[in-house]
């Protein structure tokens, strides 16, 4: 569990990088330096009604004077992007958390392959910048409908040069995961974009160890077949036992019992409400914890248990 500071930042600049993607520059009205971050990090944007959405930082990690985010208007989404497009203007105040990184660049690789689909490009702008600065061997595969509909394309051409490979369907070029090539122990692959792109690349790389294939998706875990069941949660430090009904999360029940716990997305993608557990068969359901941590960590917002679980609280 990590608490993050929430700041009231000012929209210093906003422009359309494609017809439906806004690129925002955010500055702190009082502090010259914002909290530091590394390539792959995201921030939470808090809307006035309390909803929270995550956006990858797409600026330069070495420039602490501003944060940059790019937001695609998604009319069928969960409402965050439409609120931003319709309400935010230059000079407005926007509530932004300090950054967190769920998609850090591994320092173990010698070669890096980044695969982005559409607005999934955002975490790769800072990654490409970092890799280029470190003179690392990398290729960025950028899938989009066309150059006009590829967010931040001009910046990426500057940063990546010949390391950028565009796959625009309007030009009849479609990305084939086979271009990644055979397994190589020194190569790390990062994927960000629509679920079908993640699925395609991850299935093509199914023989690779999961430590070398990294993906991030900001959307709710959808499993229509999952039916929540009630279970019992025990707090290890106090011995308190709580019943978690089928229609409530662990987070809901703990908060109702005076446990002040941080959270953000409350759909298993941001990692804010991570918590340890000791015994119990846990149904994880989150998109953030790696397999290696699932034996003793869970996400209070979406994880449940069969019959009972003991929490390290």
């Amino acid at each position: 569990m990590t608490a993050r500071l929430i700041m009231k930042l000012r929209v210093a600049n906003m422009r359309f990088t494609t017809p439906d993607v806004l690129h925002l520059q955010l500055v702190h009205p009082l502090r010259p330096a914002l909290p530091e971050w590394s390539a792959g990090a995201h921030v939470d944007l808090r809307m006035p009604d309390g909803r929270v959405r995550q956006y990858s930082l797409c600026g330069d990690p070495d420039d602490r004077s501003r944060y940059e985010i790019a937001i695609k208007r998604e009319a069928t989404g969960r409402g965050g992007s439409v609120w931003v497009h319709e309400n935010l203007r230059e000079g407005n105040e926007v509530h932004i958390s300090a950054p967190r990184n769920n998609l850090p660049l591994s320092d173990k690789g010698k070669r890096y392959i980044l695969v982005a689909g559409g607005i999934g490009i955002t975490p790769f702008v800072s990654m490409a910048r970092t890799l280029a600065r470190q003179n690392k061997d990398f290729t960025l595969h950028y899938c989009a409908r066309s150059a006009e509909q590829a967010p931040l394309l001009a910046e990426l051409r500057d940063i990546c040069g010949a390391n950028l490979q565009c796959w625009f369907s309007a030009d009849s070029r479609r990305f084939d995961p086979a271009v990644i090539g055979p397994y190589d122990e020194n190569t790390h692959v990062y994927i960000c974009g629509p679920q079908r792109l993640l699925d395609a690349v991850q299935s093509a790389l199914s023989a690779w160890p999961e430590e070398q294939v990294h993906g991030e998706v900001f959307q709710m875990t959808v499993d229509e077949n999952f039916k929540p069941e009630p279970f019992e949660a025990t707090v290890a430090s106090t011995g308190q036992r709580f019943l978690v009904p089928a229609d409530k999360s662990l987070l809901d029940v703990l908060r109702a019992n005076d446990f002040p716990l941080p959270s953000s997305c409350e759909m298993g993608v941001c990692g804010s409400c991570e918590c340890g557990y000791r015994d119990g068969l846990v149904l994880h359901r989150d998109k953030v914890l790696p397999t290696s941590k699932r034996q003793d960590r869970l996400m209070l917002c979406v994880s449940r248990a069969r019959v009972s679980v003991t929490l390290d609280l």
Binding site: A3, I6, M7, S97, P262
Partner: protein
Amino acid sequence: MMEAFQHPAGSIAVAKPGGATAWQGKLLHIHVAPSASYEMEELQEAECVAGRGIVGDRYFEGTGTYSPKPDVREVTLIEQEALDAISRNDPPLQDGPITLEPRDHRRNLTVIGVPLNHLVGRRFRVGDVILRGGRLNFPCKYLEELLGLPVFLPLYNRSGLNCGIERGGIIRPGDSIELLTS
């Protein structure tokens, strides 16, 4: 051995009158946060409401991290002297000095010349407002996480004082602070 009044802490304190009692303090900064985890904001003037808190602060609004817990949190104070000691890594508990700005420590009032650890169970005056010392503040891991700085141990035993408000009113930086004996 070092001569006691040559020590960085002793040499600063020796020049100041008073001790646990005959001291004269001053309010340096007022900060509030609108809600849990929000950055603190500095005020040039604040309204203290008896039995509730500082208008605009998360513990006045009931939106603080610890608001659900029954506790004394109407106003929290911390000594500038403690922040100064941490900034010179005294005692040397971490790798180097940590600068904890008044807007960062998340206590409402930064004060100087006030022996907060002696004020549990005492009444004292900040400007026209009267506060009652409820308990010593205790550093929390939550603050370490928010700041990304290892401040838990350095703040141990000098993390400030949690107070209730006996008589409300307006406070401003520069207000004098005095022990009330009657």
